[in-house]
């Protein structure tokens, strides 16, 4: 069977599985359910950021900003403008599904427009400078939301319907992984890697590096926006401080921990880090632990720093970084290798 058929089947299987899991999720403790949903959302966020940071080599620190836009746009639409739809179609499974898909898409599209807006001027900037601009952008989004009274301003926005299920969360996560993997494996998608490897060389062979960078931002932002929509309809309450700088850093750490440019690694790191951070809540409550340990456990920023320092010392390429792609032996003899005739 061809590789791309396997990918498609895997996507289908993941969607069916998440549908089944969703169907039987009634018995799961709602706290655990929430965490499982957060894991799926974080996988989506990390994999989409990896397209920008890992594959295209543009350092973005504004992913929480895109997520915030998706969250607020979709929450606002589903809360304030759903009455018309329900009046026309009645409140049933079909109309809710329609509404939810529509608001998630709207959130994604709004975020990708923001991705375009931040992507275009950022093209002139590289490395640290780009990181600063995206960081500033994320903060601007947050401050704008904080001062928008229609969505509650600093009080946050509550009363969002709880539509997010395991099915939606993991279908979106699977779709994100599928899209990113398929993209990178294609001839078109290899362009992202060339921009990361050597921008001048990429231009010299005729690759429009501008378009690739903007595409990475737009696509990455789209999935972050959808993830934001899922988040809003899962917690049913969102507030601006939930999308602050620390949130962006959290996603960046997932990407670095998993290994820049490894979709599997990044997804794995997202799962690991979400569980770890959740577990630390308990650690902070253990009375028998020394005061210092509990304090550290409470402070995420310290944990992030420790994780990063340990990573840089022990495995600077990330947990899954620099695995030879598709089993290509590095430095191995390939004399018998079949040469391409008509394949692309």
């Amino acid at each position: 069977m061809k590789y791309r058929h396997i990918k498609k089947l895997a996507l289908l299987a993941a969607i069916i599985l998440s549908g089944m899991a969703s169907h039987f999720s009634g018995g799961i403790n709602s706290y655990y359910l929430q965490i499982i949903i957060f894991i799926g959302i974080n996988v989506t966020l990390a994999v989409s950021l990896n397209l920008i940071n890992g594959y295209t080599g543009q350092f973005s620190l504004g992913h929480a900003g895109f997520m915030a836009i998706g969250a607020y746009v979709s929450a606002y639409l589903s809360t304030e403008h759903s009455a018309v739809l329900f009046k026309a179609l009645g409140t049933n499974f079909f109309s809710i599904t329609l509404l939810f898909v529509a608001v998630l898409m709207a959130g994604g599209v709004a975020a990708s427009i923001a991705g375009l807006i931040v992507g275009v001027p950022s093209l002139r900037l590289k490395g640290d400078y780009l990181a600063i601009v995206t960081l500033g952008f994320g903060e601007i989004i947050r401050v704008v939301i904080q001062n928008t009274d229609a969505v509650g301003g600093p009080r946050g926005y509550s009363g969002i319907a709880s539509y997010t299920t395991l099915f939606w969360t993991y279908s979106v996560a699977a779709l994100t992984i599928y899209v990113v993997i398929s993209l990178i494996d294609s001839t078109y998608g290899r362009g992202f890697l060339t921009v990361r490897d050597d921008e001048v060389a990429a231009e010299a062979v005729g690759i429009n590096t501008t378009r690739y960078k903007v595409t990475a931002f737009v696509l990455g932002a789209f999935f972050a926006g959808v993830a934001g929509g899922l988040y809003a309809h899962s917690t049913t309450y969102i507030n601006p401080s939930g999308f602050d700088f620390q949130r962006s850093i959290e996603i960046v750490i997932m990407v670095i921990l998993g290994g820049m440019g490894s979709t599997v690694g990044v997804a794995f790191a997202a799962i690991l880090l979400t569980l770890l951070l959740e577990y630390l809540r308990f650690v902070a409550g253990y009375e028998w632990l020394p005061e210092l340990v509990r304090r550290i456990a409470q402070n995420r920023v310290i944990i992030y720093s420790l994780v990063l320092i340990a990573l840089m010392l022990l495995r600077p390429q990330g947990l899954f970084g620099r695995l030879p792609r598709r089993g290509i032996p590095i430095g191995g003899s390939t004399k018998s290798a079949k040469l391409p005739a008509n394949s692309t």
Binding site: R190, A201, A204, N208, I328, T334, T344
Partner: protein, 236 residues
């Protein structure tokens, strides 16, 4: 084929090229020689669109191409091998070559091009599936040249192909450059510090000094020119 007239390029407030004019005839190998910082690479990078020209014109086959984006210029048939063998280190040799053909509409039938570059550089065939970053310096240069050939250019610009390569391989690479020029009829604009070698393989030469062309002649004549001999060829 390629006509550069009164070209001026600045890096910020520093002028790198002053009124450079040169012409490259179809089917020739033309070389630009000169010391470090003379503006050789700047000239190439401006032609390929990586740098913006302040003044002057660059005409290719009669059409003005100055200040067009690099991908447009590659699409017109001018391909550059950048200085320092800028290969895509994390892609395989084969993928690097495929990216060279990025702008071609007939990407699904590249068999002939693969055969062709593998014929010129058999070493690349052996290493087709190897990650390009693990190749030796000379092999990376071969890959960079092959990658530029994949777009089927009519004009190939080479920036310091001998840079950082074992002397024995430098000879081979220059032989291949001549072979590419002869067998494919590809016009070549060659920038090179190794003036001796460059003048040996080329038909015509330009000598650049601090952003100006101070001398140009047939390569055979330049090689016996006293000024060139003492300044660039290490002779008396």
């Amino acid at each position: 084929m390629l006509e550069i007239k009164d070209l001026a390029v600045n890096y910020g407030s520093i002028t790198a090229l002053h009124d450079v004019s040169l012409s490259v005839a179809k089917g020739d190998i033309v070389t630009l020689i000169g010391a470090n910082g003379a503006g050789k690479s700047t000239t190439l990078r401006t032609v390929s669109g990586l740098l913006k020209a302040q003044r002057g014109s660059i005409r290719y086959e009669g059409e003005e191409i100055s200040n067009q984006p690099p991908h447009r210029i590659v699409a017109r048939g001018i391909s550059q091998v950048p200085e320092g063998r800028m290969i895509f280190a994390n892609l395989t040799v084969r993928e690097n070559l495929l990216m060279g053909a990025y702008l071609r509409k007939d990407r699904h039938k590249l068999g002939a091009e693969f055969d062709f570059v593998f014929e010129i550089f058999p070493r690349l065939k052996e290493r087709a599936k190897q990650v390009a970053g693990t190749l030796s310096g000379g092999e990376q240069q071969m890959l960079a040249i092959s990658r530029a050939l994949m777009s089927k250019p009519r004009c190939l610009m080479l920036d310091e192909p001998s840079l950082g390569i074992a002397p024995i391989l430098v000879k081979t690479i220059f032989q291949k450059i001549v072979e590419i020029n002869r067998s494919l009829g590809i016009t070549i604009l060659l920038v090179e510090q190794n003036a001796n070698l460059a003048l040996e393989v080329s038909h015509y030469g330009y000598v650049l000094e601090t952003g100006r062309i101070i001398l140009h002649d047939r390569s055979s004549a330049l090689r016996t020119n006293e000024k060139v001999k003492s300044a660039y060829l290490g002779g008396g």
